[in-house]
């Protein structure tokens, strides 16, 4: 099942690697990735699409802990907005 995560993150050099590392380690597959700097270039808008059989909260709760993640919203499911 695909899940779409809308993420706002600090625009730091390793932030995308961190997102992808946690996604892989926690057992989800990458199904899509889009990113663009926001107007001030200090933040990034990231759309991360992942697939996996495990409940998605097991991934979102880990991504939330990343220091550079400001906000994370699960677009495709019933979960409400979770602010970092």
């Amino acid at each position: 099942m695909n899940h779409v995560l809308n993420i706002t993150a600090n625009n730091t050099p390793a932030v995308v690697e961190r997102l992808l590392q946690v996604t892989r380690y926690r057992g989800y597959e990458l199904a899509g990735l889009q990113l663009a700097p926001r107007a001030d270039s200090r933040s990034l808008n990231i759309t991360l699409t992942v697939s996996g059989d495990k409940p998605i909260h097991l991934l979102t709760s880990q991504l939330h802990k990343l220091y550079d993640i400001q906000q994370l919203e699960l677009a495709s499911a019933e979960l409400a907005v979770l602010s970092a």
């Binding site: 050099p13 390793a14 690697e17 380690y25 909260h57 709760s61 880990q62 802990k65 220091y67 550079d68």
Partner: protein, 551 residues
């Protein structure tokens, strides 16, 4: 001043007086600044050892441990220790030198992408790109390391940043303010109702309780709500010694009474623990009748492996009083007391050879109050957890999550420097001891009176035990019968020692070790046939423990 001097200034502002490290090319400016600094640097003999000492310092004191290494191999040598700190939630700040930015990305000498390497083993990591951001980055590193669920943070500082000049005025605001932990008590009433309704409640206590500074609140909670309790490896020493309802460690090598009681309970109150697989055994069969209250500071632990009927997130100090409800479970307490009585430890052991569980019990009874015991990993580690008693989890430093051999000796160095007034003992095995044996040189250099007990069965004992039980006695690469002479090895570092082989030598040898004012190595030879019991075999439920008689 230079960036390198700024690093030391900021460390001092954070109250850092002790750091562990090893110099090299890309961190030379910081070592040059160290030359006239009041920060005391302890030269380790391998960066992994230095970082373990920082972990030992942090775990024994509750402060942030700090270590330093150069780029490339210095940085890669830190990785195992950072992973250890990550899995045991230890606040550590690691500072690494990096090659100058002008050559970064060119495969320069001793250049490695340590930021990339750090991703899986740190809570966060930074690359400092300019001297102007150096102070703020270091402040963030300390804040992240100790906030929430603590963990290791790495700061990689290129050499040109260390050498760059900056007009630096210390900010008054650098003084660390205590950050209040966001705490939700929304589920407190639900938790109280579960506790009040439970007939067989059980407190399952993890390392998160003492890390939160909630030891007094825990004792109060257990006094106000009398119930049996069990602890994880990391929480040994959390329950006051006079609490008669304490049942010991649970899990793979836990006490039979603890495991049986947890399997029978109808409410499991998980406090700062995470249902690790070494605790639960077969997860589907773990505490099958129990509802769960889960209290933690890390939201990601809630519902990770076991569903929580009531979850409370945040500051353990606030949550414990808020979930206090009156328990009424005298029958259950009596039943658990009977379990404890039925499954007590036995120390009768035939022959004159030393029985490690008994020797460790004797060590435990003889060591001064508030001694710190640092373990390595393997059979001796489980025997320490089973047969020694501690008055605080800060007195029992054992590599839990990562299970890192080579932890004990360098961790003891850090613990001794954190608490010079307390006795510090390393209990190691003949396999683990050799993994960071070079740190004997650190003990020699600083004349650290660390007591070293090497429990020697000439085997990689825990692996041997599994080969015996689960791999048809095919003893692949676990024979260490050509070990060095450990007493002679210690003597090469000016550390006196003594070797014992018989039970009747134990008391006298312990007396000699504690009486000697300096570092001392006691080499304890045991029978390679002795195994750790009980044991929950892989895939089994915790009530299906193997014991020596059944094996």
């Amino acid at each position: 001043m230079k960036g390198a001097e700024l690093v030391l200034q900021v460390l001092q502002q954070h109250g850092v007086e002790t750091i562990f490290g090893y110099p090299g090319g890309a961190i030379m400016p910081i070592y040059d600044a160290l030359y006239q600094s009041t920060v005391k640097h302890y030269l380790c003999r391998h960066e992994q050892g230095g970082a373990f000492s920082a972990i030992g310092f942090a775990r024994a004191s509750g402060k942030v441990g700090v270590c330093m290494a150069t780029s490339g191999p210095g940085a890669t040598n830190l990785i195992t220790s950072l992973a250890d700190a990550m899995l045991d939630s230890v606040p550590v700040v690691a500072i690494t030198g990096q090659v100058s930015q002008a050559v970064m990305g060119s495969d320069a000498f001793q250049e490695i992408d340590v930021l990339g390497l750090s991703l899986a083993v740190t809570k966060h990591s930074f690359m400092v790109r300019s001297v102007e951001e150096l102070e703020a980055t270091l402040n963030q590193a300390f804040a992240i390391a100790k906030s929430g669920r603590p963990g290791p943070v790495l700061v990689d500082i290129p050499k040109d940043v260390q050498l760059a000049e900056i007009d630096y005025q210390p900010l008054a605001s650098n003084a660390q303010k205590a950050v209040s932990v966001p705490t939700s008590l929304a589920n407190a009433a639900k938790a109280r109702a579960l506790i009040a309704a439970a007939k067989k409640p059980m407190a399952y206590i993890g390392g998160g309780v003492h890390v939160a500074g909630a030891m007094p609140q825990l004792q109060q909670f257990l006094a106000d709500n009398p119930m049996p309790s069990v602890t994880t490896l990391k929480a040994m020493g959390s329950v006051a010694k006079d609490n008669t309802h304490y049942m010991g460690m649970l899990g793979m090598h836990g006490t039979q009474a603890a495991n049986l009681a947890v399997q029978q309970c109808d409410l499991l109150i998980c406090l700062g623990a995470r249902f690790d697989d070494r605790v639960t055994g077969n997860l589907q069969k773990f505490a099958p009748h129990a509802k769960v209250i889960h209290v933690d500071i890390d939201p990601a632990e809630i519902n990770k492996v076991r569903f929580a009927d009531a979850a409370l997130l945040g500051d353990m100090k606030q949550i414990l009083p808020a979930i206090s409800a009156s328990t009424n479970c005298d029958e259950w307490l009596a039943h658990c007391a009977t379990l404890k009585q039925q499954h007590g430890w036995r120390y009768d052991h035939p022959g004159e050879r030393i029985y490690a569980p008994l020797m460790l019990k004797q060590l435990s009874e003889r060591m001064p109050d508030n001694s710190v015991v640092c373990c390595d990993v393997g059979q001796h580690q489980m025997w320490v957890a089973q047969h020694m008693r501690f008055s605080s989890p800060r007195n029992h430093l054992s590599s839990g999550g990562l299970g890192t051999m080579g932890f004990g000796l360098p961790a003891a160095i850090g613990a001794k420097l954190a608490r010079p007034q307390d006795t510090v003992i390393t209990v190691s095995g003949d396999g683990s001891f050799m993994m960071n044996v070079q740190e004997l040189a650190t003990i020699k250099r600083f004349r650290l009176p660390v007591k070293i007990v090497v429990v020697d069965n000439q085997r990689l004992g825990m692996v041997k035990q599994w080969q015996q039980l689960f791999f048809n006695e095919r003893y692949s690469e676990t024979d260490l019968s050509d070990n060095p002479d450990f007493v002679a090895l210690a003597a090469a570092f000016a550390i006196p020692g003594h070797c014992i082989t018989r039970k009747d030598e134990v008391e006298g040898a312990l007396e000699a070790m504690f009486t000697w004012p300096g570092p001392y190595l006691l080499h304890v030879c045991i029978d390679d046939k002795d195994n750790v019991w009980p044991l929950v075999p892989p895939g089994a439920a915790n009530e299906d423990m193997m014991t020596e008689a059944k094996a």
